[in-house]
């Protein structure tokens, strides 16, 4: 009985480690793919970044002030 029990424990341990390994891999790859998504769905982060950009572009005019009338 002992070798059977041992084999079962080995199989179980292997299964668990495989599940953990692939689960981790998937999580890692999901994490890898989601930098655009995680940032662009986070309003707080976007506010911070857009303020940074606005600060950097403070002295750059966005367009001509000479436009007059309706387009």
């Amino acid at each position: 009985m002992k070798p059977v029990k041992f084999a079962m424990i080995i199989v179980l341990a292997l299964t668990i480690s495989l599940v953990l390994f692939y689960g981790n891999q998937t999580a890692r790859s999901a994490d890898k793919e989601n930098h655009c998504f995680t940032c662009h769905t986070n309003a707080r982060k976007l506010i911070k970044i857009t303020r940074e950009i606005a600060k950097a572009n403070k002295d750059k005019p966005g367009g001509s002030a000479e436009t007059e009338g309706e387009g």
Binding site: K32, E33, N34, H35, C36, F37, C39, H40, T41, A43, L46, I47, I49, T50, I53, A54, P61, G63, S64, A65, E66, T67, E68, G69, E70, G71
Partner: protein, 375 residues
């Protein structure tokens, strides 16, 4: 239209992940960039803001191939009537013509749209910004997309934002633009039309109002009398905006600008310059467009030497339709009402020749009627 804060323009609703058609796509599959890079500055290297412009065949066409096939013929993308009109007016001197073309490209062509700039974001020409957090909008929202561009004339007319004038009756019935302007018209059909009125799938009043000539119509007699004589707008539009003297240029910092010389609210009936089987009416409403012989003077002198080839008063379909208007209230609201008709005195002297085909000669203005009551 409310402006968007900078972060609102690029905020993505996480709900997009649940979009059964687009949710499975990684951002980078359409926009490029590096999704693995946690540094936003380097991650955005190579990012394409609007992957559907100028070519939609990959980003949209891989699934929506039947629409993307004709994408480039959509007038919202090609703006080809603009080019055609300006080409006709431009100098035949090749060097001058090239300068006019370059200026047109820089200024006029900036107002195009694309798949993305109707269904995903506000158009770039009105500073962009994602619609509903990048959730795909099957029907573009009217005020954030359509009237965001077509605002100063069509938008204000339709929404009743011109002082003293009522909104379009269709607006009061909660019609959005796409009730009349269907996708088939917007998306192009592969044909290179000379102007928007030629587009085969354009709106037709009769598509909904066929009964106006029928026995059940309260006003069938008047509709029959005026059939093919006047366009629907001649009787059913209110005053509308006319713009003048657009001049283009660049400021000291190199930013482009335009200047238009004010606008007027008028109602003018002219001779139909695009009379055809499809538009057989003799009289139509005409609107002054902002073009001027000196529009391109900043870039090239005498750029539009053939200015007179086209009228500056053009066929128009003002979007402020009402059942009853001052000109259809009684027969003499229009008949004998000379002020409603575009006459030589209404046209800038230098442009009389350009408008000779739309100016209504005095003898063509219908005379006053003795019986003034509309049946």
């Amino acid at each position: 239209m409310e402006p968007l804060a900078p972060h609102e323009k690029i905020y993505v609703d996480s709900e997009i992940a649940e979009d059964e058609n687009h949710g499975g796509l990684g951002c980078h599959e359409c926009h490029g960039g590096n999704p693995d890079d946690p540094n936003w500055k380097t991650a955005h290297k190579g990012v394409v803001k609007d992957p559907s412009y100028p070519d939609a065949s990959e980003a949209c066409g891989s699934c929506h191939d039947e629409i993307a096939e004709h994408y480039k013929s959509s007038l919202h993308v090609s703006l080809s009537p603009f080019k055609k009109m300006i080409d006709m007016r431009a100098s035949s001197d090749k060097g001058v013509h090239a300068k006019v073309n370059a200026a047109r490209e820089q200024h006029c062509s900036a107002c195009h749209s694309s798949c993305g700039q109707c269904h995903i974001s506000r158009p770039e020409s009105v500073e962009g910004g994602l619609l509903e957090g990048h959730l795909f909008q099957k029907r573009p929202p009217m005020q954030q997309v359509c009237t965001a561009c077509h605002g100063s004339r069509i938008g204000k007319e339709y929404l009743g934002q011109n002082k003293g004038l009522k909104p379009d009756i269709h607006k009061e019935k909660y019609f959005k633009c796409n009730k009349c302007h269907k996708a088939a018209e917007m998306h192009g059909d592969g044909k290179d039309y000379a102007n928007r009125y030629e587009v085969e799938n354009g709106p037709k009043c009769k598509a909904c109002h066929e009964e106006i000539y029928g026995p059940k119509s309260k006003n069938a007699k008047n509709h029959w009398i005026h059939k093919d004589q006047v366009s629907c707008n001649v009787c059913h539009s209110q005053q509308y905006k006319n713009c003048y003297a657009c001049h283009l240029g660049k400021d000291k910092q190199g930013f482009k600008f335009f200047k238009t010389k004010g606008s007027t609210m008028e109602f003018k009936i002219g001779i139909n310059p695009l009379r055809s089987k499809k538009r057989p009416e003799k009289f139509v409403t005409v609107r002054h467009v902002p073009v001027d012989q000196g529009t391109f003077n900043f870039y090239v002198k005498d750029g539009l030497t053939n200015f007179d080839k086209l009228p500056t008063w053009k066929l128009a379909t003002p979007h402020n339709v009402r059942k009853q208007t001052p000109q259809n209230k009684t027969c003499n609201g229009c008949h004998g009402n000379e002020g409603l008709f575009l006459q030589e005195k209404d046209v800038k002297k230098a442009y009389v020749k350009a408008n000779k085909d739309v100016i209504v000669p005095k003898n063509m203005i219908p005379g006053k009627r003795q019986e003034d009551k509309v049946d």
